[in-house]
Amino acid sequence: MSEELNMPQMGYDMKEGVVIKWLKEEGSEVKIGEPVAEIETDKAVVEFESYAEGILEKILVEEGSKVNVGEPIAIVGDGTNIMEEEEEVEEEVQEEVQEEVQEEVQEEVQEEVQEEVSIDQKIKASPLAKTLANDNNIDLNNVIGTGPGGRIVKSDILQLIDNVETTEKVKINFKSETNDVESQIQDIDSTVKEENKMRAQIARVTQRSKQEVPHYYLSTDINMDKALEIRSQINSKLAYQNIKISINDMIMKSVIDTLKKFPIFNSRYENGTVNMNEEINVSIAIAMEDGLIMPSIINCNDMDIKQLSISSKDLVDRTKNGKLTGAEYTKGTFSISNLGMFDVNSFLAIILPPQTAMLAVGSVKKIPIVSPEENIMISNIMNASLSADHRVTDGAGGAKFLAEIKNNLENPVNLII
């Protein structure tokens, strides 16, 4: 019995991925969850973990190959297929090799055809724009269309070519001491391309979310006085372990506890139905130089605040190094975006489908407030705004959810017991 390993979908709008590197050789043993390959998506390189167990009988695509999501890249089985092959006489093996080469060529051709079809389907571009993009090695994924209905038209491509040419000139002048102009241009090309790739990806995801997901928004002020106090106590106790709990860790903990109470906010909306997620995987927005990534801490249902802190720090580090796993990259169930460090009072986030809600938190600021005893006092106030999918939940439910988060943070003992 053999099972195919298919190009995984690592993003709700991912259509294809590139096998960057095989981590296992043909004939080696693989376990479920064991990384077998590095896959490059539009945004990052992620490890592809095997969902089958046995012997890696056959690697179907070479490193560097682009494969549509869902198409096989390797076969895992009990090893009998390899045994049979070894028993065959050499001549036949040679014939087979030749056949395989032919098949591969055919497959490549087919892949190319399919690739073109899929581009046609997902990107609206005029024939001329496609020709120009092709001639100039421009990936239409990276181009924002300004024609009717968002169609990519000639002027969009020409503008891009202009930009690239300008960049090239600047950089070439800058580095004119070296003679290797050709490779510089390639460097520049790939830089421009990568930047655009991230931008285009964000553009597509947010645009689609805004178009498809009916957002509603709720906002509240949270008094963080007690949370800050308890945080400094914890941090002083953990200092010897070199662990430092952040406000964000506390917010995460509050959100996780609240999600357990209101699991509907930990759901995903797909094809008209709401599916509950058992795992709580909290995504956190991580700002990169050229954009934004939202990786998640996997299965944090039962993590205490210390574990959360460790995990989130690790996640941030690996994000910046491009070492995320596929699951971390794609399996978030609820997101938190924190712009506190940028002195933002409050903001509203765009939900990351298929998730159904996101919490946006601003800076903690000292503000005069009226205490329950009707005294004016100075407190540490943080605004938190919930964006939620109205197809899944309603305002009243959202209000209870947000109130619970607020309650947890204002009575932070809840977070450590």
């Binding site: 005029s126 024939p127 001329l128 724009a129 024609g147 009717p148």
Partner: protein, 325 residues
């Protein structure tokens, strides 16, 4: 240089034909005593006599067939069918016979006739008198179809048609007879099959013919106000068509809209569109647009007819829809 209307230039063309070729004669309904329904043949009966200028019964199949037969026997008949709507009564003669005799006889016989007829809407003539069937005839191998939009081409195309040894459907537009142009004094011919660039531009190609040319100019003027420079191509001939000039224009502007007075379904404009998208696909920066009359029999009321025929509002909104300007 003399300034002539299309009506006058055609009258001049007919006189030339009668003067230069003894085999030429003209036949049609009310072209003699009455002076021609659109007055194109005015004065010819008095000058050339009833042998050359033959009034016919209202018998379209009969006299068109007679012209075909006479041409096969060495004559050069010019037939006037009062309107293209009536030509349907002679469709058998035109399509089954005129277009095919040369081919079916493998060149033994030929049919060198000119059928002049009048196309188009706009005259508040109602559903049966406002149709534009030139595209039908243009689709038939063996026929040549021309459709001038100005007096210069009317004269030039007629001179070419007279020298043709093939059946030529010479389509005049009922609303254009008064269009005036300076006619060059020296003799010239307008080649059948060669479109003409009426206005040069880089942003959008407008293709039209006959009664749609004035609209094309109107659209161009409006777009010019927004700094969109249109190139207007007057097809002049519907069969044959030298597409090279069209392709050149499309490769330059990357955007095309075709104006066609016929209905939307199966229009000649759609044929032009299909050729362009097939031959210039990689040069197109948007869909090839075709603007037609709406798919209804032409209503009589002026209020309604103006909205059914392609008009400036519809053209501009279509262009905006297709190209965003």
């Amino acid at each position: 240089m003399a300034e002539l209307t299309i009506r006058e230039s055609l009258n001049k063309a007919l006189r030339e034909a009668l003067d230069n070729n003894e085999n030429v004669f003209i036949m049609g309904e009310d072209i003699g005593m009455y002076g021609g329904p659109y007055a194109v043949t005015k004065g010819l009966l008095e000058e050339y006599g009833s042998e050359k200028i033959m009034d016919t019964p209202i018998s379209e199949s009969g006299f068109v067939g007679a012209a075909i037969g006479a041409s096969m026997a060495g004559m050069k008949p010019i037939v006037e069918i009062m309107t293209i709507n009536f030509s349907l009564l002679a469709m058998d003669q035109i399509v089954n016979h005129a277009a095919k005799i040369h081919y079916m006889s493998d060149g033994q016989l030929s049919v060198p006739i000119i059928i002049r007829t009048v196309t188009g809407a706009g005259g508040r003539m109602g559903a049966t008198h406002s149709q534009s069937f030139e595209g039908w005839y243009a689709s038939v191998p063996g026929l040549k179809v021309v459709s001038p939009s100005n007096a210069i081409d009317a004269l030039g195309l007629f001179r070419s048609a007279i020298n043709e040894n093939n059946p030529v459907i010479f389509v005049e537009h009922s609303m254009l007879y008064g269009v005036k142009n300076e006619i060059p004094d020296q003799y010239y011919e307008t080649p059948i099959g060669l479109p003409k660039v009426l206005e040069k531009g880089n942003d959008l190609t407008l293709i039209a013919w006959s009664g749609m040319i004035p609209l094309a100019k109107l659209v161009s003027t409006e777009l010019n106000k927004r700094n969109i420079n249109t190139e207007i191509i007057d097809l002049r001939s519907l069969n044959p068509i030298d597409f090279e000039l069209i392709f050149e224009s499309v490769k330059k502007t990357n955007k095309v809209v075709i104006l066609d007075e016929y209905w939307e379904t199966g229009s000649f404009g759609s044929y032009i569109s299909s050729v362009i998208q097939e031959k210039c696909f990689d040069y197109l920066d948007g869909p090839v647009g075709v603007i037609n009359s709406l798919n209804v029999p032409m209503p009589y009321s002026a209020e309604l007819e103006d909205k059914v025929i392609p008009n400036i509002d519809r053209a501009l909104s279509k262009i905006k829809e297709l190209f965003g300007f």
